[in-house]
Symmetry: C2
Subunit: 333 residues, 2 copies
Amino acid sequence: MKKIINKPENIVKEELEGVAVAHPDLVKVHYDPHFVVRVDAPIKGKVGIISGGGSGHEPMHGGFVGMGMLDAACPGAVFTSPTPDQMLEATKAVNGGAGVLHIVKNYTGDIMNFEMAADLARGEGIEVSSVVIDDDVAVKDSLYTAGRRGVGSTVLAEKVCGAAAEQHKSLKEVTDVCVKVKNWGRSMGMALTSCTVPHVGKPTFDLPENEMEIGIGIHGEPGRQRLPLKSADEIVEMLMEPIISDIPYKSGEQVLLFVNSMGGTPLLELYVAYRKAHEIASKHGLKVVRNLIGPYITSLEMAGISITMLKMDDELLKLWDAPVKTPGLRWGI
Amino acid sequence: MKKIINKPENIVKEELEGVAVAHPDLVKVHYDPHFVVRVDAPIKGKVGIISGGGSGHEPMHGGFVGMGMLDAACPGAVFTSPTPDQMLEATKAVNGGAGVLHIVKNYTGDIMNFEMAADLARGEGIEVSSVVIDDDVAVKDSLYTAGRRGVGSTVLAEKVCGAAAEQHKSLKEVTDVCVKVKNWGRSMGMALTSCTVPHVGKPTFDLPENEMEIGIGIHGEPGRQRLPLKSADEIVEMLMEPIISDIPYKSGEQVLLFVNSMGGTPLLELYVAYRKAHEIASKHGLKVVRNLIGPYITSLEMAGISITMLKMDDELLKLWDAPVKTPGLRWGI
């Protein structure tokens, strides 16, 4: 296992220590239970927004804590759901009296633990709403998941909901924005290589030198099919077709196109893929009005990409363009 | 070779096509000869800033074209110097009458071709100055290089020189800022894996499963030594010690600490490394006042990191904090 780590059991704690010393102007790190929280939380009268999940997907979620995005993020162990006490403590820490939204990716453990935390928080008088993101069109039901997995749309939901909360929209309004992203976003991913979970120490799966896996999950869960390695253009077609045909997006609509690295694929290849994805979207009459290109929801060092497309309306455009200041996304301030 | 590409010979052109459709608000792409240029170039009365080099190091340099950073970037083929005609055309395209600065990494081909382009541009009446960045403390002379290689400080130089030019400083003043970064920045890198140059199709070097290479260059040039794989803390010590002892930075000084991914190493590991690098800098009495953490000067999909430290004074701090709006770095606007 080739990684720049110390003991596998300390990786998340040490990463959080790195985040804490790197970004003291933006976030605080709370240990035992672990969560990353905005330095100015709680903000009176503002809806608090929390997400979380297993570590190994950085910058999601801890890198998206800050002005205009998340109020707190709860990192579990690598590829392991955070615990209800993390989510409960984070919920209390960001409660400014206007309620708290939990943005949850559709994995069985995440859902169970966020539900438990929400119940406990309600018991303490905090209004909590939850939205489950399930945007991965690759598979119905999967390892760890009933229904579709939650992937790239989560990043976009965190951005636009964060902007809505920053404008002091109500919990109902911020939740509605999140539901819109849940309904309008679709994703699909593929892998060239497996990742290696640090405490396992060997690759999650074997993928021969001339093969790829289409429809892979962000924890290396099985996809739709293994195929001989194809060209970038063919790979992008295999990801875009199921996305576009799923909603279906209508010709003339505006979309945000997000080409994401699974961790080990560099920007050079992402732009080659973006070129084709943009071309395919345009051929379907879709107008790509915003984009995001880079490693934002990763799967450790896995080589591969995912593509997310989100239908945009005027509300989402304004929220996307609003200022954001986090370690992982920053503009306008 | 597992990459998301089409034909290796088209990779740079297709990447540039991706950049062009992704960022039409920020940059234009000129083909034959290839260069990426600010959409609003030339800007009358502003010093133009150009850099360039082989492709494969994205987002450097093309991703750093835009307001507050570069006016143009010239991408060569992968790991191959751009040609003088690229640099000449880019120089002419960004000439707003106040002169043009060439920021050059210390590789023999880059230097020769930038010098030729500068001579040709001067022949056309454009004032050109050049600064060669040679910040890699790992080795004296190397494959492709006489003297030290130019690496991470280049990114920092592009940011602060871009800010100085944006304030309509003179060519002499912007050049002086670049020389300051050249003098005050030091870097060192290491690799866990080789990268594969697309048109070669096989790894540049072999590195057994339990070994790493310390002092590697960004083209896979040999480093100082091969060693059994060490812990993150030990690796960071091996990079920080030569950096700190080289200048030497004095206790009490302010520094920018830049932990960079070589391409295949994900953010999770960068923060583990940053934690230790920050601790070591602090133990030496250095005050880390700014940082940069992520993949900014990469070596295709190579797994590994580099660390750059730059001494900061009030001038550099103000220039670093100034607004920037490029595909790869963006804040303040």
